[in-house]
Symmetry: C4
Subunit: 250 residues, 4 copies
């Protein structure tokens, strides 16, 4: 195996596709969106990317078949723009690997003539949030108007700590290669997998690219997490005033 | 020394050998099986594999002679299939090294025309277990029937965290190279060296490959560990009711 | 992108320039000085240095535009010597990277014919200090007299732990390449960003190179930090005797 | 700078020299011996070895001159065998670097035709020891008799954890290159710099190689440490019985 190994699975004919990244990260927001789009829309595996910089492991599927750690690129045919969606269970494990793997992802995007790129992720707020704004960062200020029209917020020098990992590098390296690149980050606590933040990011993406996927699966996961969150809130707040009254009377 | 250095010790004439890996890992299950087979059966050192990715150290043998960190491949002549058994005291220490060293192991296997591969290990249950099931994962679903007949259990998406390290990579990389590869994992607590889990894995391997080795040495080690385990259990449970009665009487 | 990627932004005509480094480090002393000089004097971006050895991230500016992690070299035109000032938000993240990135910085310096080099930083004292001496280390003892005249102190075998990171390597590698290299280290607690230590280092640099920049911005930041420090001191010392009297009377 | 950079300082004419390594390690035993021999005997700097795998730093000498992290090889002319002594303040910081730097050291040894090698170090006992046995490990069992005559003890499979770092690799890699290599390890607590363990190792080395250096400096350091140790022992044991009597009387 080479340092980075791209195993091609199909050669779809795509019309000016948009590259969309959703690897694991804060609140798994990007990963949730990417996987949801691949599952709900008409998609086809294009390539698996393996690398010595991914963790040295396999995952085991429901048929007990092992799959080497890697990332996947699917072609997605939507009512709007054609998509190339990058998803997977891993990011590179070391600095140098992060750069090289991200450059390989961009090579795949260029292979299909993509010139537009969205890196999806979450931005941690440190507390549970009810409204999930979507924050943006761009490779070129000229991209901001269209994104703002789709509901993206731009805040000076945010996120303060920068954007780390694949999303950051696809934006940074992609911009340097001439991509029109943006990072769309759903606000999320940072503590939990957050399907609601994913829905907010998905809504922006659908608006931008003119497609629409069924959201039931994401709603179901959001309901599950909602329950987890409300139980956490109860635990945080302790017994309610009502409980105290009862004890007082007792 | 090269990044990976294979020092050949002999060139045995093997008939369609099966490659069996047992490096250190969970409960040292794989290592126990591999070393037991090498010791009990008719075996011959074929090669030592050294690498910059192994720890920078030597081990010292009973004659005070130093041996550079590495792994060993033995040819084992059994009543059934010929074996190439990989054992040793170390795994690679870094991600990239894991991939490269595992690929070197596969090169050795291919050198002898092996096309079948078993990676042996343990799967942690988190608690002391009396029955040691052997869980399987495969490179190809067609391999499952024969393994199931030999007593291997297949459980959807297990182990949940995937298979990490040499065993995982030999399965993942081996499968991609065309090996019929399987990982056989004995259930074990994960806290202790587990010769009983090793016996369970060995039994499956013997059934699959048609050989039979004396198990006394493994039984002895199992007895030793059994004693350790029972002492641990006593410590966990505290004094028994009987002890308390005695004290009460006193 | 190559392992190290130098993106040239301009090709200024410099007269025997002095290379000045101020990357993040103890008390951010070097970074404060370098950025202050670039902002206050007549400066022009010469090159951005990117590398796989920098963190895998982008920073986001006030216009929400992403900038790939890197370091910047500015040409600065002063009343005295021409300067090439290296500043940025990151150092290399690994050993090997530190050496390679530092050598690339020296390549840039040599590109413009620089033969003199000042690495700026802080030296931690472990306690809050009022007077900020500037300690020096050199590539060649012949450099010490001129530096001592400008107020630099030389102390045998100090800093005891050596000089780590970019400043250390530019001094060590630069000296081996034939640069007249010195490290100027402002004494600082090591706990806080320290604009006063930066002022002390800047004063030495101005004296050595015959230039003078407005210090108001640095004074403002020093005032802010002064307030932080005085609040920290209050917290350390607890309520003053006066406070206790008042409570007693009450 | 290359990955490993050997800066030659002189080309002494040596007669069948013995290579002796003493880099920092357990109790700094090896380092103490190597530096003591270089200081007390008639020695000359042969080469400095620098590497990207050493820490990214300089040390500062008593004249405030910076020295890039590295190791030094001195030629030492003794009444007995000629020596090539390797000493320094650092070991490589990463696995791969450990292997490559150790191989570079062996290149230097071979450059001068050395075929015999002693790696000096300490072996931790975990408690303060009064007698400092010297434990040995060898590349070839034929070397043991002569070492045993010089007072070296050989214990089956000790040290149990193997020999880690430069000493281990020089023994392991050196043996594979055909050196007659031995590791001499002075027993030491492992908690403190131990000049007495160094004296024990030095005595063995002098006996083996037929030389004799003044030991006053090492004795002085041993006395200093002895005082530290006795103070530590007092603190461990608490007030003596005598103290209690006094209090009782009081």
């Amino acid at each position: 195996m080479d340092e980075i190994d791209i195993a091609w699975a199909s050669e779809p004919d795509l019309d000016d596709p948009v590259f969309v990244e959703g690897l694991p990260g804060v609140g798994h927001v990007g990963k949730l969106v990417a996987e949801h789009v691949v599952e709900e829309a008409d998609s086809e595996l294009v390539a698996r990317v393996h690398s010595e910089h991914f963790p040295p492991q396999v995952t085991v599927d429901d048929d007990s078949v092992a799959e080497l750690a890697g990332a996947e690129v699917h072609a997605v045919d939507t009512a709007g723009r054609d998509l190339l969606v990058l998803s997977g269970n891993h990011q590179a494990q070391d600095n140098v690997g992060h750069y090289r793997v991200s450059n390989a992802f961009l090579d795949v995007a260029e292979e299909f003539g993509a010139t537009e790129l969205y890196a999806l992720g979450g931005v941690p707020t440190g507390e549970l949030v009810d409204e999930h704004d979507v924050i943006g960062a761009v490779s070129d200020p000229a991209l901001k108007d269209r994104l703002a029209d789709a509901g993206v917020e731009f805040r000076s020098e945010e996120p303060a700590g920068g954007i780390v990992g694949s999303s950051g590098l696809l934006l940074g390296l992609g911009g340097r290669r001439g991509f029109d690149a943006a990072c769309l980050m759903g606000e999320t606590s940072g503590y939990l997998v957050d399907p609601k933040a994913a829905k907010a990011v998905l809504a922006v993406l659908e608006d931008l690219l003119g497609f629409d996927v069924d959201e039931e699966a994401l709603d179901d996961r959001a309901d599950e997490m909602e329950e987890v969150v409300s139980r956490l809130r109860e635990m945080e707040e302790g017994p309610s005033p009502g409980d105290e009254d009862l004890r007082y009377i007792g």
